[in-house]
Amino acid sequence: MASSTLAGLDALDTQEAAPRDRRRLAASAWAGLWPKLAAVALVLLAWELVHLTGWKKFVLPGPGVTLSNLWQQAQASLLWHAIATTLERAVIGFALAVLIGALVGATVSRIRPLRAAVGSLITGLQTMPSIAWFPFAIILFGINTTAILFVIVLGAAPSIANGLITGVDYTPPLLLKAGTLMGLRRLSLYRHLIMPASLPAFVAGLKQGWAFAWRSLMAGELLVIIANQPSLGVLLSTDQDQADMASVVAIMIVILVIGLCVDNVFGMADRAIRRRWGLMAGSDAA
């Protein structure tokens, strides 16, 4: 009876009751891994099957060709160089966006006329396609990495600000009251109460911000093409230009894998928060 009651909850937990010994630990690692492997295997299988039917075979490469292409690219330095360049830009741009987004979010959510004035503008800016900013990037910064960073910041900062604002809006009023009565004011109210309370929404905003930053970057990299400094955006567009679909798909796989890794970082942050807040069922088991 009781155990059947649990079934529903169980499916919702992200973490099993902590394992008691090594074997259990291995089992839980395996539990996290096998679905991923199975998914990859399934996708490859389906892809190969489609490929075998010969459907659109002039334009759609098979998994074999694509993977060997990826393998070859991984042997050469070009791809790694491109990954390094792009990641460096992404990280710097994202860091800037986080700084600016958090600042704007904190300011706007706190000052009422400012919020009325520019609150909606934030989403408005978010919907502006990167391409629209290109002329401004060129005009203001010329042709250099700063122009790319400008495009990234304009793409990502709004989501980060929006995430923070959502978090502030959903800070439980009871805690807010408790904090104010305690004597927390202005900055310290922010630092000790509103920031931590809005952390989950902020992290969600960061995650979205990363996606925006990355996509803006992919577009922005075409703006500034620097000799002997390949980047993923340029590689992707070059491969498309040269109708080299196997390479296109290979680069897409690289982008996907980077996205997966970044998601895992955010996932870890998220789980850390939920464990801390006691929002993760099962986390307290012995």
Binding site: M1, A2, S3, T5, L6, A17, A18, D284, A285, A286
Partner: protein
């Protein structure tokens, strides 16, 4: 979980149940070798110091958590009234109750009238349209009680259900609860800090020791129903239990 074979068809059986939260240096042993059986229809009150593991025990019985060791058997559907109201903030008081009815498969028309009835039982008719945040603490607790009753479970677990209520309202609800229990063959595990309340309501009062929780004494309540909380018999037994409890506390340190 279901391997134990108990001789009597008890509604709830705990055999040697322990529960440890966390591990290593900061582990907290909340329950230690608790064995307890409640017969169908029995009203068992649990009393113990703050943090002795009463809520833990109820959540284990409800199947919301697994014991570290020991076995638990529960016969029938379980409803749990949490220590906090745990109402759904996006639903009005009435809708909260109706949702419980709906989960049981009660039809739409009947839901409405049953919810109104239950609100009346907890003396909140007229407040069905309010959302939880528009209710006072005691009102929320009463909505939670109505919701628990709406589930018409075989085993009702109640965690300090009347803690936030004034004496008068509480007395009225004691009577209502008596009525509900008499009507159905309801097994109740009832946690309270109020020894008189325990004696007023229970067929049996179980005393738990301070951390880790262990059963230290059981008192059957031989007083004839209907009982009144200010009856002398109730006061007397409550006095005995309180003395025993005080003794336990003084032994275990603050």
């Amino acid at each position: 979980m279901t391997t134990a074979v108990t001789e009597a068809p008890a509604a709830v059986t705990l055999s040697g149940v322990s529960k440890v939260y966390g591990r290593g240096g900061t582990a907290v042993r909340a329950l230690d070798q608790v064995s307890l059986a409640a017969a169908p229809g029995e009203f068992t009150c649990l009393i113990g110091a703050s943090g002795c593991g009463k809520s833990t025990l109820l959540s284990l019985v409800a199947g919301l958590d697994q014991p570290t060791s020991g076995e638990i058997k529960v016969g029938g559907r379980v409803a749990l009234m949490f220590q906090e109201p745990a109402l759904f903030p996006w639903l009005s008081a009435a809708a909260n109750i109706e949702l419980a009815l709906r989960a049981r498969g009660v039809g739409r028309a009947e839901r409405k009238s049953r919810a109104a009835e239950l609100l009346d039982v907890v003396h909140l008719s007229g407040f069905g349209g309010k959302r939880p945040h528009e209710l006072s603490g005691g009102m929320r607790q009463r909505v939670a009680l109505a919701r628990a009753l709406a589930q018409e479970a075989d085993v009702l677990l109640m965690d300090e259900p009347f803690g936030a209520l004034d004496a008068m309202t509480r007395d009225l609800l004691h009577d209502e609860l008596d009525r509900v229990c008499a009507g159905r063959n309801l097994t109740v595990l009832f946690v309270t800090h109020n020894v008189r309340e325990a004696v007023r309501l229970g067929d049996r009062v179980v005393l738990l020791s301070s951390r880790p929780g262990r059963v230290i004494a059981e008192y059957p309540v031989p007083i004839q129903r209907p009982r009144r909380i200010d009856a002398t018999a109730v006061a007397e037994l409550a006095g005995t239990i309180t003395d025993r409890l005080r003794e336990e506390v003084s032994r275990h340190g603050k």
